[in-house]
Symmetry: C2
DNA sequence: ACATCCATGAAGCCAGACTACATAGTCCTT
DNA sequence: AAGGACTATGTAGTCTGGCTTCATGGATGT
């Protein structure tokens, strides 16, 4: 019973093809195939089945792959133990973020981590509409993802998710707008407005949908953009109003744009760090996540202070 | 980070010397030493220290050995998963018991397990006074041990213990005894009697001590024997009375001996299966333990039926 | 001081995991 | 229908890495 082989099976369960596993583990497909064959012989029962060109796991294979995860977690926990003894989080950590969260959290977090010698954080950004967050955990140690409250699309998949912050979604208005003097807005206040929306399928979409449900009328969406800067420019030009994340937007722009909180709606998004459970155990990874969390708390505190 | 090496470290933590680890793992001391050296180099900090002729673990070494246990547990759980898929508990299971428990549980349990092809149970007995139960878990998969209630001497050592049964301790009297007609006995009834005791340090000893504490007088112990048959023969000869375990003694012997329950005292012993946590995960081991537990329940039920 | 226990070094052996290459099956395209 | 592109997987050979054997040095106790 070899751990390396089980690890291969787990990779196969995640990636779905021998070739992909080989690429990911810097081996030839032949080597992977041979090891899986050995594993199967040891197990005494088929772990994979051919399906078209590729392979799929049998029930037994999936079960075994699942326990391979437990082993990987225990293993990483062990290396974390000794990393702790050296008081050293070292190694490479790869991270992928969507742009707004990265802009808000990464510069500060990386500054805070600068004194950790030997800890190298490699960051990338990826458009949230194009990214299947859970799938990215195969390639990156940490995936910054956002989800609307109540949506736990990845809890079930056996991934570890650490909440970093909850960010309220406000309504952005041009300064001259008839609602610009209000303290907060309700669904009925805004449903009749001209909206700048996000592309269909984006998470914020649900909020506007909730507004429609609550009021019984349809909202008029004239434009749909993914880039928040673009949306803001439309708001400031007086071409409509939009939902903007409170912290990652430009915020109140004196003389040009104001943000007003929504009441009576579940208008906030969770920003979470998403990880494969074994990787989440690595001390280096935990250190980075902790830095992100601290930074997020600081951002929230600064905004709270500014508001209060 | 290699599992085999960590396993070696764990063995070292348990057995205390490279030579012992080598013997236990069928290797030469040199091989063990080399692997530990590699582990230490990987860890980047000393895991062992010389102490006289032998080695002792450093704090870091102990911590690492502890997480090695977690890995071993996960590993055995994985093999259990696939054993389950084959519906087959196979392999060798070694067991050591103290005589009375073995006589009561083993014949029946082994009969129940006879239909499991490929499951071989190797049993040994060992005198409870000579045996350090926790230490035996290094050599045997299952250690049948007894403890008085409230004594959890091995819970803390990171061992898995599965309770099999609680056996009441009765007072054995010769049939002609003045108390032989009673339904049950209290401490004050028996403290003045002539006692046949167990050797000093035996677990039952505490009961007699409790009797002395409760009554404030000392009990007269004329003989001390380890073997229950011997004790019973003294009882039947009218040479004294003694504490006897209800199920593993010969029980009521019409015309010769009667058993009377004690009230007002914590007069029972726990019989438990004691295992190293990784071994406890093996399907074969779990199967045997389950058979023992079932057998124990049956013994208790039979006695309850006979009494009622 | 010697015998005996311990851990550990050096040299060589051998299993087992890898690469490179070749083969066979499946899917899609033309 | 046939080729090309993709899968997985066999075969042969290489080489890493853990093992054994033998030898050394320190610690203990008689």
């Amino acid at each position: 019973m070899d751990v390396q082989r089980l690890e291969l099976l787990r990779e196969l369960a995640e990636r779905g093809s021998v070739t992909a596993v080989a690429r990911a583990t810097h081996r030839t497909p032949s080597a992977v195939s041979q090891q899986l064959k050995v594993l199967e012989r040891e197990a005494g029962l088929p772990l994979t089945e051919r399906s078209g060109r590729g392979l799929v796991l049998t029930d037994a294979g999936r079960a075994l792959a699942a326990s391979a995860t437990d082993i990987a977690v225990a293993l990483e926990r062990a290396t974390a133990v000794w990393d702790t003894f050296r008081n050293r989080a070292t190694g490479d950590v790869s991270l992928v973020t969507f742009p707004t969260a990265g802009q808000m959290l990464l510069p500060g977090a990386l500054q805070d981590l600068a004194d950790h010698d030997g800890l190298a954080v490699h960051c990338t950004d990826m458009d949230p509409e194009l990214s299947d967050f859970p799938a990215l955990t195969s390639e990156y140690d940490i995936v910054l993802a956002h989800s609307m409250r109540g949506q736990h699309t990845w809890g079930g998949r056996g991934l570890t998710s650490v909440p970093l912050m909850t960010e309220p979604l406000d309504v952005g208005l041009p300064t001259g707008h008839r609602l610009a003097g209000r303290v907060s807005l309700g669904a009925s206040d805004v449903v009749g407005e001209t909206w700048i929306g996000v592309p269909l399928g984006y998470p914020f979409g649900r909020i506007l949908h909730d507004i429609e449900l609550q009021t019984g009328s349809r909202a008029l969406v004239t434009q749909r953009f993914a880039d928040m800067r673009l949306i803001e420019s439309f708001i400031m030009a007086g071409l409509g109003i939009a939902l903007v994340p409170r912290y990652t937007s430009s915020g109140d722009q004196p003389g040009r744009m104001v943000l007003k909180p929504l009441r009576g709606l579940d208008a906030e998004r969770q920003i979470v760090a998403l990880m494969r459970p074994d990787r989440a155990e690595r001390l280096a990874v935990r250190t980075v996540v902790e830095a992100l969390r601290a930074r997020a708390a600081q951002v929230q505190a600064e905004h709270a202070a500014a508001a209060g």
